[in-house]
Structure formats: C-alpha cells, structure tokens
C-alpha cells in the first residue's frame, strides 16, 4: 500500500476513534499503532519498538482493567443499590414527618386542656409542651441532612454512569447504554438559582456559627 493511502487510512481510523464518545477499544488502538508502524519505511528503530511495546502493554492493561470492572458489576450500583438507598432515605423523611405530626396532635390536645387546669400546673404543662415543640424541630433538620445525602448519592450515580459509558457496553450487565444525566427533581436537578452558592444546608457543629455569633453580626 502506498504511503499516502496508509496515511489516509490511519487518519480515517483516528477520526472514527474520536467519535467513540470517550470509550476506546484497546484492540482498535493496537491496530492503529500497528498501521502506523507498518507505514514506517525501513527497519524499526529501538525507540520505535519501545514505544510500540509500551502502547501494547497499555492496551493490555486497559483490557484487564475493563474486565475487572465488569466483574464488579458496576451497573448494579446504579440499577439497584443507589436507587434503593435513595428510596429508603426518602421513606425515613416521610415516616419521621408522619410521626412528628402524630406527636403534635397529642401535644396540642394536652395544651388545650391546660385551660381547665390549676394555673400552676398549667404553667408547668405549657413549659413541657413548649420543649416538645422545640424538640420536634429535629424532623426539619434531619430531613434537610438526609436530602443532602440523597443529593450526594445521585451525584455518585451520575459519576458511575459516566464511568460505565466510558468503558463501553461490555461492563454493563444488560449491555444497553444508559442515558447520562440526572432523572430527579431534587434541589441539585432544579434550575440554577441566584443564591445557589449560598445553599449549604445544616452544618456540622464544628462548621456552624452559633446564635450568639449571629446576634453579634447584627450588632
């Protein structure tokens, strides 16, 4: 084959390679390298042989890594584990909310009875009721924290999906490529908002400032 024709063939193969949406077939890569080497006139230099050898080793490494990843069944993470974890966490938010409202119903009934009680006793009951109302704030805080975890899991899901796409269909159990991108309506999937960079949610105690610190900022 004439040199020009070989160059043209290699160029076409490289264009094909670029179209592969980030996934590279190591065998395809090796065939291109072989074509490049075949096109070299005269004997291969020691350097050329070394390059060829290294690329071949790299191709074998990629093949082995892909096989190992396929063994791990990474698509199980996206199809089973992450959605199940997300559902469980969402259910926790729902059940704690329901339980909290049941507590409210009971406490509000007790509070209504204070009008019929001795004033001194009523005052003590009211104080206890107030403490219960304050404590029920846990549902809001834990709900927000769990929502943050759900968002993190969905982020992992997106990254695993990108990994699966990069390594091709043979690492998927069903062999079918999945569409990239989110499929949720959680805050991370919502349209960008002007204050999005300030939405940090509840902070761990070591990162949060106290009400006293806030009051100091208000002077």
């Amino acid at each position: 084959m004439a040199v020009a024709a070989v160059k043209e063939k290699i160029a076409a193969q490289l264009i094909e390679l670029q179209k592969n949406d980030g996934s590279i077939d190591p065998e395809h890569l090796v065939s291109i390298v072989e074509a490049v080497i075949d096109s070299i006139e005269g004997d291969l230099t020691a350097v050329g042989l070394k390059v060829y050898s290294d690329i071949e080793a790299l191709a074998r490494y990629i093949n082995a890594a892909r096989a190992e990843i396929a063994e791990l069944r990474p698509d199980d993470i996206n199809s089973d584990y992450l959605p199940a974890a997300t559902d469980e966490l969402t259910a926790i938010v729902g059940s704690t909310e329901q339980a909290t409202h049941t507590i409210f119903e009971a406490v509000e009934s007790i509070e209504a009875l204070t009008e019929k009680m001795d004033p001194e006793v009523a005052e003590q009951i009211s104080a206890a009721v107030t403490s219960i109302y304050e404590a029920c704030g846990f549902q809001d805080i834990t709900g927000q924290r769990i929502t943050k975890v759900v968002t993190a899991l969905q982020h992992v899901e997106t990254k695993v999906d990108a990994l699966l796409n990069a390594f091709g269909d043979d690492v998927r159990r069903d062999g079918a490529p999945k569409p990239a991108g989110k499929k949720t309506t959680t805050p991370s999937g919502a349209p960008a908002r002007p204050d999005e960079d300030l939405l940090n949610g509840p902070q761990l105690p070591e990162n949060a400032i106290s009400q006293d610190d806030i009051d100091a900022l208000f002077g």
Partner: protein, 129 residues
C-alpha cells in the same frame, strides 16, 4: 403595657410542614393567633401582594423560590419594602448571615432554635410585648 398588636397578621414560610406547625404553635403560645402559612417564596409573595401582613418569618432553602429570593423581592417592592422580615434557617454559615443582612433581613434565627430565642427576636423587631 405592650405596644405590639398581638392580632397582627403574620406570614410564616417553610417547605417543611413540621416547622410551620412548630412556629405556629410557638407564636400561639406567645399570644399571636393571626398566622398564615406558605410553603415557598413564590406562594408567600403572592400572599403578601393579596393581603397586608405585619411580619414575615421565613425559611431560606425552599423550592422553587428561596427565602433569600423572597426577601430580595420584598425589599424591591415599594409597598412591601418596609415589612419586618425574620429568617429562620439551618443555613448557619457566616456568609449566609452576612448575605441576608446585606439583603435587608430584620433578624436571623438559626435552626434548631427555642421559644426564648424566637420571643427575643420578635421583641427586637416588633418591640417588647
């Protein structure tokens, strides 16, 4: 004697029904019974334009319109710009408090909070009652 009208209309805004109920009950214990609710900034803004309120108590992180966006809208509205606005939120970073203050919030309460803190902040904004 208190100079605060305890029948003043108050709008509380939070996407968690639990928190709406907590704030409503605590306000009731303090003597405020005229309380309406909204579950995000856009619903709250509509209520503020439909009815005259004396105070807004709002969460920050809500969809589709956040409490910060609501505050910005309120301060930009000629009819609403003087409305007392208290933020009650779990957003407890200094940058949040500073941003809210710069946007014109009247006071800022970090969750979880207690009844005493709520009463103190209400008094700071409305006057002693």
């Amino acid at each position: 004697m208190s100079s605060v009208d305890m029948s003043m209309p108050i709008l509380i805004v939070d996407d968690y029904k639990t928190m709406l109920r907590i704030i409503r009950n605590l306000l009731k214990q303090l003597g405020f019974n005229n309380v309406d609710e909204a579950t995000d900034g856009s619903a709250a803004l509509q209520k503020l334009r439909d009815k005259e309120y004396s105070l807004v108590i709002s969460d920050w992180n809500m969809e589709p319109m956040s409490g910060m966006q609501l505050l910005t809208e309120v301060r930009a509205d000629t009819k609403l710009k003087e409305l007392p606005f208290i933020m009650i939120t779990a957003e407890s970073k200094t940058e949040n408090v500073i941003a809210a203050k710069q946007a014109g919030v009247s006071n800022y309460i970090v969750k979880p909070f207690n009844a005493a803190t709520l009463k103190t902040k209400l008094a700071a904004v409305l006057g002693n009652f």
